[in-house]
Amino acid sequence: MAEVKKIATREGYGAALVELGKAHDNVVVLDADLAGATKTSVFQKAFPDRHFDFGIAEANMICAAAGMATTGLVPFAASFAMFAAGRAYEQVRNSVGYPHLNVKIGATHGGISVGEDGASHQCCEDFALMRSIPGMVVMSPADEVEARAMVKAAYEHDGPVYMRFGRSAVPVIHEEGTPFAIGKGEILRDGTDVAIIANGLLVYEAVVAAEELAARGINAMVINMATIKPLDEELVLAAARKCGRIITCEEHSIIGGLGEAVCSLLSEKLPTPVRRIGVNDVFGHSGPAAALLKEFGLSAEHIAEVAVEFCK
């Protein structure tokens, strides 16, 4: 594959917020002392009177976002995934989810690719936590282009949304202007032997793996499943029907994320063999993101290995 441009999805989050801020007066952004890291600082710079820092107090920030939403504002609350979904879980559940308020949570630094900060900051449980809240939309973009489209779709959606963005630069695989719809998966490559359903930075890895698999005579379908909840059930079932084998890939624990969502659906509606690629119920550790992704099997090579074994 040709050399591709790499940008972190969190950059797309910040950029899209600025665009939204220009178009809509009711967009406000909340931070918990991480505006620089979450990339919301670009919004802060453009709209200082619409940016509110809450200091290192995520629980208060999430509930304050809920309160703001009741006054007609559309708050985007930002923090690291570990704190937005983890520390403030109960605040999201009770003050945002239960009243179904129009709060958007933009969580950056999700997954193992946080890198050097180590396990305390490598949140691989956020999809599981957020998926378990009724009415919550849970998404994670494959690249910066999709991240921007996702943030705009989140604004248009009436209700709570959780978006997970990454720290590390990842290849841009979407053309500018590629349509995005909440709850709709995207077939990036058609195939018949195995369907690889991925999200986040694993989408690019899945595309690379599929090319390698093609060279080895395995025709893999690749689906970008940016929305984990609500899951595009129709597309998963169609892929299962067509390929008969599913591999899920996510930068998340194999417990509670995309893999489990796909398995839950298939086990009830169309039992199909599945292999889940994700973080195997272990904590991460410090190291360069690329090395960690390789070590934890979140790579094109590992996806290809699993697929070859699976298709024997």
Binding site: F52, C63, A64, A66, G67, M68, T70, T71, Q91
Partner: protein, 277 residues
């Protein structure tokens, strides 16, 4: 509404609390009764609300951060005309909109869903920020328990209220001195409450939470405060108005049985008769 009318209404609110929890065979009468006078004052004197249009965007907001005392809030809302008083008997029933803890989407007049302690004040902070940001003059009131302020999030919220100079926010603490496990001072002392709030940047006012004159002065004073939020720490009696419930932590989360209900209603009825006499 004059003071006597407020006292009469407070009796009706107390009877609503007893009727609701008795019918539910569950609920929290103690802390509802300690705040009954406050609920009455807010909904019949202080808050700019419209029962015919509960979602009116310029209304004042009230967030019951100590959400377990929903029976008191519901009784005040019902008597204020947000929904039928008869419905109070459906409290906590399986087919009722009167949930055990306040639900903003099912109960007319409830401005925020609460129940998990420590969160309501943060939501109130967000409301006050949102209203201020949009140039609205509406005010936000929130009621916390003295046990509730043991939650760390309360102090995060207080920091933010002061930082953002929320002079449209009034934080009220119901200092009835008791929580589930007993005396708040013995379980985990929150004292000195007013000093702490003052240190966090609040204009603080201490009152007797069963004295409508003091309430009137405090809320009037709060309206004059600029550039900082106001905290009203009100000393109250848990279970106020029912002799056997007063100052008894056992009535935090227990409903009266038939005999207890009859006696409690008789006691309030006697006070009401005296006032109306």
């Amino acid at each position: 509404m004059d003071k006597k009318q407020l006292q009469i209404t407070a009796c009706k609110v107390r009877m609503g609390i007893l009727t609701g929890t008795h019918s539910a065979k569950a609920g929290h009468p103690g802390g509802s009764l300690s705040a009954a006078d406050l609920f009455t004052y807010l909904y019949f004197q202080e808050l700019n609300v419209d029962p015919a249009n509960p979602k009116w965007e310029d209304r004042d907001r009230f967030v019951l951060s100590k959400g377990h005392t929903a029976p008191g809030l519901y009784a005040a809302l019902a008597h204020r005309g947000f929904f039928p008083v008869e419905d109070l008997t459906t409290l906590r029933h399986i087919d009722s909109y009167l949930q055990g803890h306040p639900n903003m989407n099912s109960v007319p007049g409830v401005d925020m869903s609460t129940g998990s302690l420590g969160q309501g004040i943060s939501c109130a902070v967000g409301m006050a920020m949102g209203l201020k940001h949009q140039g609205k003059s509406a005010r936000v009131y929130t009621l916390l328990g003295d046990g509730e302020i043991q939650e760390g999030q309360v102090w995060e919220a207080c920091m933010a209220a002061s930082h953002y100079k929320l002079d449209n926010l009034v934080v009220i603490v119901d200092n009835n001195g008791l929580q589930i496990d007993g005396d708040v001072a013995k379980v985990m002392s929150p004292y000195p409450i007013a000093d702490k709030l003052e240190a966090f940047g609040f204009h603080t006012i201490a009152i007797d939470g069963h004295d409508f004159d003091q309430m009137e002065q405090a809320f009037a004073e709060a309206r004059t405060v600029k550039g900082k939020p106001t905290a009203i720490v009100m000393k109250t009696v848990k279970g106020k108005g029912v002799s056997f419930m007063e100052n008894n932590a056992g009535w935090h989360g227990k409903a009266p049985n038939d005999a207890e209900y009859a006696q409690a209603m008789d006691e309030i009825q006697a006070v009401l008769a005296g006032l109306e006499g």
